[in-house]
Assembly symmetry: C2
Amino acid sequence: MDKMTFENHYMKQFDEELEEIRTRLMEMGGKVEQQLQNAIRAIGEADSKLAEEVIKEEQLVDNMEVDIDEACILIIARRQPAASDLRLVMMVTKAVNDLERIGDEAKKIANHALILANESGSSKGYTEVRHLGQSVISMLSNALDAFARFDVDAAMRTIEEDKQIDQEYKTALRELATYMMEDPRSISRVMNVLWVVRSLERIGDHAKNLCEQIVFVVKGKDIRHQK
Amino acid sequence: MDKMTFENHYMKQFDEELEEIRTRLMEMGGKVEQQLQNAIRAIGEADSKLAEEVIKEEQLVDNMEVDIDEACILIIARRQPAASDLRLVMMVTKAVNDLERIGDEAKKIANHALILANESGSSKGYTEVRHLGQSVISMLSNALDAFARFDVDAAMRTIEEDKQIDQEYKTALRELATYMMEDPRSISRVMNVLWVVRSLERIGDHAKNLCEQIVFVVKGKDIRHQK
């Protein structure tokens, strides 16, 4: 192989490796998206089997995080990427962390779904979970789409959705507090719903982080913590 | 400069750069530790001025995260570290994220301290906050000590502390639910305490993450998600 061919070959391999971690990150994103949808459905339909499935499958998401992280370190060590390639790899190590935490929150939601399904009782607060859940699923899906296309505009629009989610979250909290005051016997049950709502709000934050990372890779600009 | 001298010089500079990001991470750790202590004190002493200070200073912690992260990327791009040096830099980018989130939770605690201080009322749940707060402060302090000395044994011991914290957290939740049932008029007040207790539990998780990262740097072994 002459030098030129070797370099071309080397670059091609490098591009393929970068593409591969991106693909694996997208797969992980798809997995946590599904986990979230199932966890929310398990509440509404009191489906303890589905909830148990979400809980069991969290391990898959955890493994994905560790594997992708390892692949990133290998790429940096072997390929010594610079500029936007390096930003991409660094971004992936941050993004897997956010995805893993979304998976973790989905598992927490599934745990509460299990408790709620096993003790029959009122479905007070379920409407709030459904509404907020829909907004959060949609935000996460938009964040992953923006990621797949490295679309900065879509990422910026998705970041804005988090404000709406925070509003819906606050409204839900007020409703839940009212349910507890109206019927103190329902407190322990409503507290389960409260943690679900909290997890949904946290997932919105992680989806926002993902979008900020897209902007960082494409623009090289760190927009975290800007008010 | 002959080649040998140049290489020595180069390595010395590199070591200094690594040492510098480590020092900056420790400074950031000291800052969030202080933020946490002040936030908890602000609740017990109904000190709204102290709470406001914590809220204002979160910006400092945010800036530290962005700056240290940037320094890490620069080091990778310029120095192309390998093996344990690379692991150290990658670990720092994860650790700043955990520290920033601890700062964020401290700010949330301070926000609730402000609400609790401004509306006078019972101090139901304050004992739970004090107990759990002490455990979490101690765990974070141990995690930072283990980090300063790259002490794997201390890190492993500190990881174990998280179990104790989870137990105390669950006990506190039960107590808080009882307070709400006994006196439904106190619900909105106790909910503020509830979020504080939740934030403390989260901080325990982040301190655990820090310890796992110490093991990763020193041993090259990823122990996250091991049951």
